[in-house]
């Protein structure tokens, strides 16, 4: 059980910090948001991330990766979260390609994963159909060799080359039984993708499948695979959001030390000092519990799912508090688009509501614990 970073992870963190400080200031995210170009991220940076080995962290050496763990990717995601990097790391690596990596389909792995590691292929996951997250709320059908249904909130679906679709072969929406994951080409006949522009500057898509024909050789797995993918992505997302929360907290702390009102630094006011201490404690709690969940996944601990839900619940709680307080403590400045703290606030909210919010994960935690 690792709650601290290993020597290798400290080095990985340092190299990520150096690269991102050089290549990815927060202004880059703002420019991309305002330009609203076709991708919403910087393809050259994505390629550099591939060169740094980030895109292959989880992949085996056979597939062009380095066979490291989710905890290692978590270190990178944390740093990317700090600078609001818009690249599709969680969506393409942990949701999309990971479903292929964790499947038993060796042909598709061989065909796809090396290109993922190179940064040449984006794979998205089309799962959600209801606004309030629940992974089994799937009505999309697979029948007679074709998929039909509508998916929402497909993260970075607008740039996907391929899409992992969660469909139902039996049962009703809400059932865990009867789910199946298929890999579909984004340009296959019957697939239509509508880009959705989110408040945080990131993109999702609504994807319709209208009798899209899929061969049996495109099957990746069932609900067991889905659970595994979602758990890993959830903690990856939690890592990224805590990077964002950490930076929002540090900036707010600095603001308390700099900003003057009534002839004093506002950080001298006890009302703010105590709240800063609260924010700090929530952040550190989240950091500990997310690290534990990352290592639980890498070690394949029996209670990994419990750790994951505990981690996302706490990360969401911390993010909610820190985001809200960051804006409040920045006062009027925090309300402007010009001040970057608002970008952090929006990103935190988006992460909080993605892959299950605090309440969702509290309930899941309770269920897993037998109450």
């Amino acid at each position: 059980m690792a709650v601290i970073l290993s020597e290798e992870q400290l080095m990985l963190r340092e190299s990520a910090q150096t690269f991102l400080a050089d290549q990815s200031p927060v202004t880059r995210m703002r420019e991309l948001r305002d330009a609203f170009d076709d991708t919403g991220y910087t393809p050259e940076i994505w390629k550099q991330m591939a060169d740094l080995g980030w895109l292959g962290i989880l992949l085996s050496e056979d597939h062009g990766g380095s066979d490291m763990g989710v905890a290692d990717l978590g270190v990178v995601l944390w740093e990317c979260g700090k600078v609001l990097a818009p690249e599709p790391l969680v969506s393409a690596l942990l949701l999309g390609a990971n479903a292929v990596r964790l499947s038993g389909n060796q042909t598709l792995q061989k065909d796809l994963l090396p290109a993922v590691a190179e940064g040449d292929r984006i794979v998205a996951l089309a799962l959600e159909e209801t606004a309030r997250f629940h992974p089994y709320n799937v009505a999309t059908t697979f029948s007679g060799g074709a998929i039909s249904g509508t998916k929402i909130h497909v993260l970075d679906g607008h740039v996907a080359d391929q899409i992992v679709v969660v469909a139902r072969t039996a049962g009703n929406a809400g059932d865990r039984e009867g789910l199946a994951l298929y890999l579909v080409d984004a340009d296959a006949k019957g697939v239509s993708i509508t880009r959705n522009r989110r408040m945080d500057g990131r993109n999702a898509a609504t994807v319709e499948f209208d009798g899209v024909e899929v061969g049996a050789d495109r099957l990746l797995g069932d609900a067991d695979l889905l659970d595994q993918v979602i758990d890993q992505a959830t903690v990856g997302l939690a890592s990224e959001m805590l990077g964002t929360a950490e930076e929002a907290f540090e900036r707010t702390l600095q603001y308390l030390k700099d900003r003057e009102q009534f002839g004093e630094k506002i950080g001298t006011f006890q009302a703010l000092r105590h709240r800063a201490a609260e924010m700090f404690s929530e952040l550190e709690f989240a950091r500990s519990i997310v690290r534990d969940a990352l290592s639980a996944l890498d070690e394949g601990r029996a209670d990994a799912a419990v750790c994951v839900s505990a981690a996302k619940a706490q990360a969401s709680k911390a993010s909610r508090l820190i985001g809200a307080e960051a804006v409040q403590m920045h006062g009027g400045t925090g309300m402007t688009d010009e001040e970057e703290i608002g970008l952090f606030f929006k990103r935190l909210k988006a992460a909080e509501l993605s892959l299950g919010d605090e309440t969702y994960h509290q309930r899941r935690f309770a269920t897993l614990q037998g109450y």
Binding site: V3, H274, A277, F280, S281, S288, Q314, Q362, F365, Y371
Partner: protein, 385 residues
Amino acid sequence: MADLEAFKEEVRAVLAERLPEELRKGNRSDLPHDLLGKWIVEMGDRGWITPDWPTEYGGGGLDREHTAALKAELKKAKAPIVSSFGVSMLGPTLLEYGTEEQKKEFLPQISKNTVRWCQGFSEPGSGSDLASLQCRAEKEGDEYVITGQKIWTTGADRADWIFCLVRTDFDAPKHEGISFILFPMHQEGVKVAPLTLIDGSAHFSQVFFDGARAKVSNVVGPLNGGWTVAKRLLQHERSTDGSSDGGIGGAAKESITDFVKRQVGLENGELADPTIRERLAAHEIDKRALSLTMRRAVEEARAGQRARDIGSLGKFRWANMVKNEQDIAVDSSGSQGLGWEGPGYEDAQIERTKKWLITRADSIWGGTNEIQKNVIAKRVLGIPE
């Protein structure tokens, strides 16, 4: 130092042979007295009460790894926790500040648990502003004569000795005239009056000094330098938090999850009250995060990685956590959570209600939550005052 695995084996073997089944209940207050007494003697003889202290002072002479391994094995066996003011607070302070004579006289007694200590810090007029304390010590030959009053003195009615903050310089600024001194409780000039608390218990006392005497040689650390010693001691106090369940009175007999399940009932495998269910889950998650954070504080310090002192969070988050547990317990019982004594109420319900009351103290003693947050803002986050 013995090989770690071999050492663990040895500890397990001793526990299997020597630790009676009746004592394997962890942090509980209702263990059979005779058996517990014998076990404590045995622990003391092995140096296990203070495993990381040097053997010359009655400790176990173990390094950090072996100490951690011993504690883990004791915890696994649910051995009773032998903790005292001597073990967790005075001892480490004496190891750091005590003279050789003081160490030789007092540490072995603590290691064997033969002398009971109490802490004389707070006064009626000096709570959060502890340094304003007024209890006086005036020199008379090779003794100090002590006059004043202490309050919130845990176990004063059973204590043999007290470690006490007294004012030895009446003209100096408030932090600079305080000394840390040791003296016996059983003497003329010391009177103890129990203090009944909000839950009806009387674990705390008020202590009155009217001409009590302390040897000059029993000042710990520099004369008038007691504030520094006390601050260090309070760090030991705070570092002991975050590990024990249940708060000031110890863990309840029944786990919070089992208790709430009985109070609320399950429907289709879920607690019948969805709000209580979410609150319980939130509490259990918080408890995990706290314990992982305290572990991380230790591991990061060991690896030299620590950026900010996250140990400082422990006290106030721990206090909130133990209070929240009792809030959930009492709320889950509804009007059955309002009992003071039977009949009409389960023992477990009354236990929770009393704990709900007494754990209010956890965010007050040892530095209130507000004081903890002041300290974090100033010392950890470095926000200028």
